[in-house]
């Protein structure tokens, strides 16, 4: 009799164990970076809370390139069935692992390689949210100088600046977006100083493609407005914070894992936008008047319905060349390789990063 009880318990236990799905995340930065990796980790925790039977784990500060393969394989060997790698530099290694382990589902963020069996590429159309915050900045500025603290001159950052500037231009053709490159992802003191240099040059709204809230704080201290990035940065500047373009990776993680569990997931290329909720803007701050909110919400609706695209022509670059013809819009491929500024941006793209 006892034997049967033990056996029964063992069976129940192993069925429970089998029902548990282990999901692994590989991060390029520390979860304490308050930015990119932090946003993914918020998504991981969201996944764990919202899908019963899922256990997650993460490895932080994993070097990109060849070395990352060892960590990916390590997760596979420990029985992880779903693995997310969240930086561009893991792409080839994730592809290699996907080929070698067909019964594991792999997800790679911000790359372009994928297959139709077990390897998904995913990213967010952050430029849609940037465009909306540009509308806010364009309507709020009085000096018509808007400051943009930017990390590195790569297409993702350039695309964000252009989308923002197009949002500004839509509502305020007089205003200019001044860009300062900080050349750093993790140096709040320099990022703050970059914001101050823009404030000293007359900017009255500051936004950023940086992970830390340093530019937001700098604007708030001068009594100017700020638009953050990555997550809602209002707690760093309750009065000055207008809004922030934000990532909601959790929505995608829950969707993907649930559908893998019920067998309906289709691997492929997922570039998700406002429509999917993966990118959004944070709640408006107290300084934003209703008129601004209405305009932003109108365009948000249009983008979600697919009736409007921020990169719809005519769009001119800084030299006055027509880049997008009237009525046409840029393709995803062109967006992913963007290396020029639209005409209301003041600043240069450092040499060696494109044209």
């Amino acid at each position: 009799m006892k034997k049967f009880v033990v056996l029964g318990l063992a069976v129940i236990l192993s069925v429970m164990l089998l029902a548990i799905v282990k999901v692994g995340f590989i991060y390029v930065g520390p979860v304490g970076d308050a930015g990119w990796t932090y946003a993914h980790d918020v998504g991981r925790r969201y996944l764990e809370e919202h899908v019963p039977g899922v256990i997650t784990d993460y490895l932080e500060s994993i070097p990109e390139g060849e070395e990352s393969y060892r960590y990916i394989e390590d997760y596979v060997k420990k029985g992880y069935k779903i693995i997310f790698t969240t930086s561009f530099g893991y792409m080839d290694q994730t592809a290699k692992a996907a080929e070698k382990y067909p019964d594991v589902q792999f997800f790679h963020c911000s790359g372009y390689k994928y297959n139709d069996k077990n390897f998904t590429a995913y990213f967010g159309r952050m430029y849609q949210a940037r465009f909306l915050t540009g509308i806010v900045a364009g309507m709020m500025t009085k000096s018509n100088i808007i400051g943009y603290v930017a990390a590195h001159p790569i297409p993702e950052v350039i695309r964000g600046i252009n989308a923002f500037a197009l949002g500004v231009k839509l509502v305020n053709p007089e205003a200019k977006v001044h860009v300062v490159w900080s050349h750093t992802w993790y140096d709040p003191a320099t990022e703050r100083e970059a914001a101050i240099s823009l404030l000293d040059a007359g900017a009255d709204v500051i936004t950023q493609h940086q992970d830390s809230p340093a530019p937001v704080q700098a604007a708030a201290e001068r009594g100017k407005y700020a638009i953050g990035y990555n997550s809602d940065m209002s707690m760093f500047a309750p009065e000055a914070h207008l809004t922030s373009p934000v990532w909601n990776w959790g929505i995608f993680y829950v969707e993907a894992v649930k559908r893998i569990m019920d067998g309906t997931w289709k691997p492929g290329f997922y570039w998700l936008g406002l429509k999917d909720g993966v990118v959004d803007i944070a709640p408006f701050g107290p300084a934003v008047p209703d008129k601004v909110k209405e305009t932003v919400n109108k365009y948000k609706e249009l983008i979600i319905k697919g009736e409007f695209d921020p990169f719809t022509g005519p769009i001119y670059d800084q030299k006055g060349t027509l880049r997008v013809k009237d009525g046409e819009k840029l393709s995803d491929e062109e967006l992913l390789q963007m290396s020029w500024f639209v005409d209301n941006v003041v600043g240069e793209i450092p040499q060696g990063s494109g044209e």
Partner: protein
């Protein structure tokens, strides 16, 4: 261009370097080479921020950072002075340890707002046209102004300074004159570590009011180079640190004004270039080394037995 803004920006970016450099000058004057500045700055930045977040008292936070830095430096002191391990290796270990510890303990403080040092306008001095900008800063900057001449006098004009330098130049001679070489080195290490950590605390309590992993962003290494650039002398450390801050802030400001960005890359290179040149001269030319005044016993662990 906004000259006053440029001055305050230069000083703000220069101050963390100044404190770290002054700390290392004291340490190296006693003959101990510490490459753990980056780790010390991170320990200072985190312990300061954590205290400020929990108590709201920035001065208490600054003092806690000093103490934490002093204690953390004693780890290196124990390894390099008592155990006499290779100072370069143990210094690198200190950097990794500081980065790791602050990263792990700091997780709870990421993304939290806290109090910071506010600017204090010094009556009278801050009214001077243009140069008044130097007196529209926060208290830690003023502390830096005071610290430079005070340290200069201590190192070069007092018996205490003579003792410190003797230990760094000729430890066996100092020992035979009854100076406790080990004790002097331990004290120098502790004080130097505290000052270096203060440089880190400036980043999280004055330059910004936040904590992010590895927020010192390589400043500890720049300070190591600035020590050589300054020829182990506080006034030159001030010039070097502020010059570095000036170049950094000038390139940001040129960009903000829409002036060509290409020049910024060259500008940014200059301080590193000067540092590299100084280091090359330093390592190849013994005359130069003597002339700039590197402590002779730098990075050589002292042992009484070997001298007997």
């Amino acid at each position: 261009m906004n000259i006053e803004g440029l001055i305050t920006a230069s000083v703000r970016l220069g101050t963390p370097l100044l404190f770290a450099t002054l700390g290392e000058i004291i340490t190296e004057r006693a003959g101990v080479l510490n490459l753990g500045l980056e780790g010390l700055m991170l320990v200072g930045a985190l312990s300061g921020f954590a205290t400020s977040y929990m108590t709201g008292n920035v001065w208490l936070a600054f003092i806690v950072a000093l103490i934490a830095g002093g204690l953390f430096a004693l780890i290196h002191a124990f390894m390099s002075i008592t155990l006499r391990v290779n100072q370069v290796v143990s210094g690198l270990a200190l950097t990794m340890l500081g980065s790791g510890i602050s990263g792990v303990l700091g997780k709870a403080f990421v993304g939290k707002p806290a109090a910071k040092f506010n600017d204090i306008y010094i009556p009278g001095l801050s009214n001077i046209p243009v140069l008044g900008a130097f007196f529209k800063m926060d208290a830690i900057v003023y502390l830096g102004y005071i610290l430079v001449p005070v340290l200069y006098i201590i190192i070069f004009k007092t018996k205490l300074g003579l003792t410190l330098r003797a230990v760094g130049e000729e430890p066996s001679a100092a020992d035979s004159r009854g100076i406790n070489v080990f004790l002097v080195r331990y004290i120098a290490k502790g004080c130097g570590g505290a000052l270096t950590a203060a440089g880190g605390a400036y980043l999280s309590l004055a330059a910004t009011s936040m904590w992010i992993e590895n927020m010192s962003a390589g400043r500890g290494w720049i300070a190591v180079a600035l020590v050589i650039f300054s020829a182990w002398e506080p006034f030159k450390a001030l010039v070097g640190s502020y010059l570095f801050g000036f170049v950094m802030s000038l390139q940001l400001r040129l960009q903000a004004m829409g002036v060509a960005h290409v020049s910024a890359n060259i500008l940014l290179m200059l301080p590193y270039l000067i540092t590299v040149l100084t280091m090359i001269l330093f390592s190849f030319n013994k005359n130069f080394r003597n002339r700039v005044g590197a402590p002779s016993a730098l990075s050589v662990p002292y042992s009484r037995e070997e001298k007997m």
